[in-house]
């Protein structure tokens, strides 16, 4: 098993009602599969998922990418700084 920490920012934090959670993943889980697992646990996230950015260890990640062991994952909308 692979225990990872998932951070939520902006609308994702609001929808999830929290700023982070730990989740246990099977080995070789991909980012796409992780997103589905998160929606299963927190249905409010679904509305945001079509426009989600995901990072793994502070680099942008994509649905087909595997989630490495102990990774720091983050979910957030397209950025709006400046």
């Amino acid at each position: 098993m692979n225990k990872v920490n998932v951070l939520f920012f902006a609308t994702f934090r609001t929808r999830a009602g929290r700023s982070s959670m730990e989740i246990e993943l099977k080995c070789d889980t991909t980012v796409g599969e992780l997103k589905n697992l998160l929606v299963a646990q927190i249905p409010a996230l679904e509305a945001s998922l079509h426009h989600t950015l995901v990072s793994i260890n502070r680099e942008f990640a994509f649905d087909e990418d595997p989630v490495p062991e102990g990774a720091e994952i983050a979910l957030f909308p397209p950025v709006s700084g400046g």
């Binding site: 920012f9 950015l53 990072s55 942008f60 983050a74 909308p77 397209p78 950025v79």
Partner: protein, 163 residues
Amino acid sequence: MKPSNFPSIFSITEDEIDINELVDQITLTSTGAAAIFTGMVRGETSREGKAQGINYAPHETTYLEYEAYKPMAEEKMRQVADEIRARWDTIEGIAIIQRIGKLYPRTPTVLIACTASHRDTGVFEAARYGIDRLKEIVPVWKKEFMPSGEEWIEGEYIPKKGE
């Protein structure tokens, strides 16, 4: 003689942005020019337009609240600086600062400053590139508070693999 290590400053901060101090920190004895961009909270938006994928109409803003994924944001700022140096090898110092927290109209929220020996080295273009890229890849978000309510502002840029 140019030093081999040019200064780079990256910061997500709740503190006021001190332009004098930041420009001083990226000024070498070989520096003759600095191009600086700062963005402020607009209290009144009069133009119809589109920014970061959001269509907007004229409206008032009471304040903005910024949040950041700080460690990733500072790493992405470093990436923006690396991209600038790869495009303009004339650039000496770079400072990239994003202020976060509750920020009222007229307050500077972001700064990009680039220095070079002369003004014809791409230093203006480098600063412009820096703010454009910050608004694409640096994980910072803002929520707008208006007399009529509040709203998260979302961008539209989807980073590509390796960005």
